[in-house]
Amino acid sequence: MSLITRRQLGRVAVAAAVAGAGQTPGLFPAHAQSANPIRIGYAMAMSGGLAGNGRATNLAYQIWAAEVNARGGLLGRPVQLVVYDDQTNGGTVPGIYTKLLDVDKVDIVTSPYATAMIAPAMPVVMQRQMTFLTIFGAGVNESFKYDRHFNMNVVGDNMKETYAKGFLDVVGMLPTPARSIAIVAVDNEFAQKAAESARFHAKAKGLRIVYDRSYPPSTVDFTPTVRAIQSARPDVVFVASYPPDSNGILRAVSELRFQPQIFGGAMVGPQLATMQAQMGPILNNLVNWDTYSPEPTMQFPGVAAFQAKYRELAHKEQVDLLGNYIPPYAYAQMQVLEQALKRVGRIDQAALAADLHKSEFDTIVGKVKFGPNGEWAEPRNLFCQFQNITDGDLEKYKRPGTKVILAPANLKSGDLRAPYGPPA
């Protein structure tokens, strides 16, 4: 896989060097690597169920590496990415990481995408005492308690008490107070944790939970589930789902013309271009968890430039076309690494870990600081509402005013509209 990576790296590097003046990058032959590169190794889901986000993440890393090399490298050495496809199969991960560390002898390791892939890598990484930057894990370090684990995810440390707070704050914005809530979640770790948080906060706010169930990822038809929820007449519905089921649920809701006051929650899917294109007006007034929205309150330095570059390359790589979900965080993860390395001045796992614990980093997703167990010290779970969605055209998702941020309060950029449903 390193061969393919170098070729892509060559292509992206030249594209970046031409400063994105609208030229489409062609296929350039691999150019010779100068001596003694800094090698960053990782497994990534390039095939299988998680590949959609995995490949987008990998593209973000490649963009970062090309930029760094165009600026003369890191610590005076060029950066080289060594990637292996984990095929969304956790069983391959320990083998891949032992190979990276023992055979390829990489200098730095970062994680694969998603908890189910990150966790199997932990024992290997811990044994070698490597500093481990992870991307979008959820609660991985709760059991391992490894002090050199650093997770780039907005959810932070204590998902149960922090995750759904924003959603329930949005519920509090309703003109007539809500009294009941329905909770439904897919059978996977992120969704179950999100649902647990919703339960916690709903009870704290005194809402009555009128429906609370889980469903397996292989569910084909959501009509009975949505109808059962509908018959319980909740004011608010919190759904925690992944792309295939998010799609099914939204369609069922639209067919049954179910329009509670607030609908949404922790649905993974509406953040991605394919679903935005397909669902169109079904997404209107959805209140959903998000990581990034191009609102005025989130115009961090560098993010627009990154997204422009990403979108140029996304089409060719068969990845999410907008890059509004993970890619900015993947890029920011590498920025964190870059800044820490520059401060430490050498490849030293212990020194790196110490720096990562105590410093605050400036990235394209804002200021990042890690807490004691490696999660973000301050979670930043956005809850955005899709507003004025009349069709599936993707251009509007690049502009503010489409995914209006309702929570947290310090990033709020608009007001709640109720009920959920297509525009009048």
Partner: protein, 293 residues
């Protein structure tokens, strides 16, 4: 969850609609597995491949997905005859169907599924017909066209198949070849030709099912895996070699799954459905509608 008649009624109706999709998926298998005794595990994978092709062709030509499936059915018929020729040459003639034949189809299933991943990527594809978001209402009963039309389409195709099998000479020959290939030879009919025809038809039915599938939900390469257990379960429950039995079993299966999902929660639906199959196998192995062995 209070017992709500309205909920139950809708659960049953939507279960029947879901059963229509399952019937589409199982019909082809009822022919190949039920009548020809060919354990074509790759059947759901072929269905998913058809769904992908429907997306590609339908999007390119701007056609309705069900219409596209109909147009592609002859192509899949040829694919089916091709697969059968290979299968017959390498396995049936040697008498190796039991083990190696099974493994052959397992390998074919993998090749198709992984090939789809390599060709289309792992993300979902969809193709929505114009009527895809409309729902009819009859009193308290909802009938989303997204489920109703593919179910009717599939039933029409199966109905045609039924007529073919029972009213035409070739069709009767297919039913006969399962029972006694030798007798067929004595009547100067080549059983291999008949089987090839039948297998081709079963794969063409998979194509029809693929068209139905893409209307109901977006597909990704691994979608077939969800259906493998279900379609075989339906064929067995329906009693092998009985097309009408398979259809009725499909409806029953859909209803059981949906009613369970409505009242006990969707996470238990698969266990109930397959647990039911295990019980059927234990106490009535000829299936609910089949003749006693």
């Amino acid at each position: 969850m209070e017992f709500d008649l309205n909920l139950l009624l809708n659960g049953i109706v939507s279960g029947l609609l879901l059963g229509g999709l399952y019937a589409a998926a199982a019909a082809g298998l009822a022919v190949s597995f039920g009548m020809l005794d060919i354990v074509n595990i790759a059947h759901p994978a072929l269905m998913v491949a058809a769904a992908f092709l429907v997306v590609v062709v339908g999007t390119a030509l701007g056609l309705d997905p069900l219409l596209t499936a109909l147009l592609l059915a002859p192509v899949f018929y040829l694919v089916g005859t091709g697969i059968y020729t290979v299968y017959n040459y390498f396995f049936e003639r040697r008498g190796d169907e039991a083990l190696q034949g099974l493994a052959f189809f397992f390998g074919v299933m993998f090749i198709i599924e992984v090939g789809l991943v390599m060709a289309f990527g792992p993300e979902q594809r969809f193709l929505d017909p114009d009527w895809g978001f409309v729902t009819w209402r009859i009193g308290e009963i909802d009938l989303p066209l997204r489920m109703l039309v593919p179910a009717l389409f599939a039933l029409a195709a199966i109905g045609l198949l039924y007529l073919f099998l029972h009213k035409t000479f070739t069709g009767l020959a297919i039913a006969a070849v399962a029972q006694d290939a030798e007798a067929l030879r004595l009547m100067a009919i080549d059983p291999v030709k008949i089987k090839r025809l039948a297998f081709g038809i079963s794969v063409a039915l998979a194509c029809i099912a693929g068209g139905a599938l893409i209307v109901v939900q977006p597909v990704e390469p691994s979608s077939g895996q969800i259906f493998i257990g279900r379609v075989f379960a339906i064929c067995i429950m329906g009693g092998m070699a009985s097309l009408s039995g398979a259809i009725m079993a499909a409806f029953l299966f859909g209803v059981v799954e949906n009613v369970t999902a409505t009242f006990a929660g969707p996470s238990w639906a698969p266990a109930v459905a397959f647990g039911w199959l295990l019980l059927v196998l234990t106490f009535r192995p000829q299936g609910l509608f089949g003749r006693a062995a």
